[in-house]
């Protein structure tokens, strides 16, 4: 794991929360080169590269907030999708 910065895009970045390797760039700072907003394509966690390590680094991310693929798959539905009105 390594932290991604605009000037260091070649390094491998994984999601701090679920360790998924597919990361998308959502936005870049209006002042060029200051920070990027990234998002995990699996758990949708979103972070700014300039945030503290406890939010951006897999190694420093608190265990209590980490998610697994099973957590995502089994997440409770809120609110539950109701049956279609015409369904009998």
């Amino acid at each position: 794991m390594s932290e991604k910065t605009p000037g260091n895009t070649s390094e491998k970045t994984v999601c701090p929360r679920c360790a998924h390797p597919a990361i998308a760039r959502l936005f870049t700072s209006p002042v060029p080169g200051v920070w990027d907003v990234l998002q995990c394509e699996q758990c949708l966690y979103c972070w700014r590269t300039s945030e503290p390590a406890r939010r951006t680094s897999r190694a420093a991310y608190p265990d209590g907030f980490k998610l697994t693929a099973e957590d995502i798959r089994d997440a409770p539905e809120v609110p539950a999708v109701p049956p279609l009105r015409d369904a009998r």
């Binding site: 209006p30 907003v37 758990c43 300039s50 109701p82």
Partner: protein, 474 residues
């Protein structure tokens, strides 16, 4: 006086010494949230915060803690900033008596100055988004008013809803929204999803201060929030039709986001540090597709920090949670004197009441649990005598200390409904609830040994005035 937009209220706060401009450069994280986390610790006169020098942004303007003190809450209602809490609640009750006051349709809303449509929509280009608490799953919008209609009765203006819900930003034109089942928008979504349809919504940010208050008031399903805003403002609420959906939105908003909650779709959302002072877990929640954004030039992003109470949200949902409960209780029990539901949105409710006969106070407590708000929130109800001020916690503790006997005064009811965010629930959405009768027993309830209660001396009130005057001239 009535404020028609956020900017005029920020000007008023500044004139009153209730706006603190932070001009030093700050980081979007963790500085903005940490400052708003800290601000209410300054006490009941804490100021709003305004930032316009945020690292990496060229044009960010962020307002926080706008309602985050009793002084600011008073000013939002056009009251002197030193108005005591109980007086603010009483004035809120008095003005609600003027409900409904029809809104005023007004042309040329400032938010029509700029627009983004369809694939060009990118919320990150409009708002300087940032994270609040460490464990939040992303950047949230949590002080916007979300407008929707009952899809089965769209012409019924009362069933239209204006509410504040947590909204996670998941992409340039994708949001998530939490409709708590007890809230009106959940009923709208339920009806749309049963029909296999999307639910159109308009999300308005940076509203005048009374819109934020009414949008977070637990009104009845068929009561119109704009009509309450008119009563509270003492003037009709200015509204305008949102250009894409036609939904009525506040004329003075900074930003109007339109789109649909995509029917029958759920996707991972959260966690988010909630008003309970705890994070919700990650859950699968509804998704919004944004189709249009309209915004004032150089919009102000109003955001709200919430965490372990008290924070801004606790001031925002204090008086406006007390008042509907008071109104609903007094419809059947005019003996009720006052309701304090300002702790964690009424998860605890304190009611003062006179008694008709022995056992009466327990009936009042049970009624709290079956009010619309009580169904989702009230988990512990404390009932005190009519001469106990429920806003004066030392008095409430005196009542608990001397009036409440666990033998007979604790009513525990198993497996009642509660919002799923309530951390104490055995299973999300289900909890036991408790009514504590801390009133003096009256006939035919002859428990205890109360004899004669010590009362303030008749001359004490005059002496209080005299001592205040003497103290003021020390």
């Amino acid at each position: 006086m009535a404020y028609d937009d956020l900017r005029s209220f920020l000007d008023a706060l500044e004139r009153e010494g209730q706006l603190l401009r932070v001009t030093d450069e700050v980081m979007p994280e963790p500085d903005l949230a940490a400052a708003a986390n800290a601000a209410p610790r300054l006490g009941d006169t804490a100021p709003a915060l305004y930032f316009d020098n945020v690292t990496g942004f060229t044009d960010a303007r962020v307002a926080m803690n706008v309602h985050g003190s009793w002084a600011n809450h008073a000013l939002a209602l056009g009251l002197p900033k030193d108005t005591p809490v109980k007086r603010q609640v009483e004035e809120f009750i008095r003005r609600w008596n003027d409900f409904p006051v029809a809104p005023e349709w007004r042309e040329d809303p400032p938010w029509a100055e700029n627009t983004m449509d369809g694939d060009e929509v990118d919320i990150f280009r409009v708002l300087p988004l940032f994270r609040l608490n460490d464990g939040d799953g992303g950047f949230y919008i949590d002080k916007a008013a979300v407008v929707s209609k009952d899809p089965e009765d769209p012409e019924h203006s009362g069933k239209q809803n204006v509410g504040i819900y947590r909204i996670e930003v998941k992409g340039g034109r994708k949001l998530a929204l939490q409709p708590v089942p007890m809230h009106d928008i959940a009923q709208h979504l339920h009806k749309a999803e049963r029909a296999g349809e999307d639910l159109p919504v308009a999300i308005t940010l940076g509203n005048d201060p009374v819109i934020s208050i009414v949008a977070s008031t637990p009104m009845k399903y068929d009561e119109n929030e704009y009509e309450l805003a008119g009563a509270l403002r003492g003037a009709p609420a200015p509204v305008a039709p949102a250009p894409l959906t036609g939904l009525p939105v506040p004329w003075g908003a900074e930003v109007v986001i339109e789109g649909v909650i995509e029917g029958r779709k759920r996707e991972i959302e959260g966690p988010f540090g909630e008003f309970t002072g705890h994070y919700s877990g990650g859950r699968s929640m509804p998704v919004i597709r944004v189709d249009k954004i309209s915004y004032r030039t150089r919009p102000v992003f109003e955001h709200l920090y919430l965490g372990m109470p008290w924070t801004e949200v606790d001031y925002l949902i204090a008086a406006n949670t007390c008042v509907p409960l008071y109104r609903q209780l007094t419809e059947e029990f005019p003996e009720v004197r006052a309701v304090n539901a300002m702790y964690t949105h009424g998860l605890v409710v304190i009611v003062s009441t006179a008694k008709r006969y022995g056992g009466f106070a327990k009936a009042v407590g049970l009624r709290v649990l079956t009010t619309p708000h009580g169904l989702g929130y009230a988990t512990t109800v404390i009932v005190v005598d009519e001469d106990v001020d429920p806003f004066d916690l030392p008095q409430v503790m005196w009542a608990l200390s001397t009036k409440m006997n666990p033998s007979g005064d604790l009513i525990r009811i198993p497996n009642l409904s509660v919002l799923e965010l309530a951390p104490q629930a055995q299973h999300p959405g289900i909890t036991d609830k408790l009514v504590i009768d801390a009133t003096t027993p009256v006939a035919p309830d002859h428990r205890g040994n109360y004899g004669n209660q010590v009362r303030d001396l008749p001359e004490a009130a005059a002496w209080l005035d005299r001592l205040r005057r003497l103290a003021a001239h020390r």
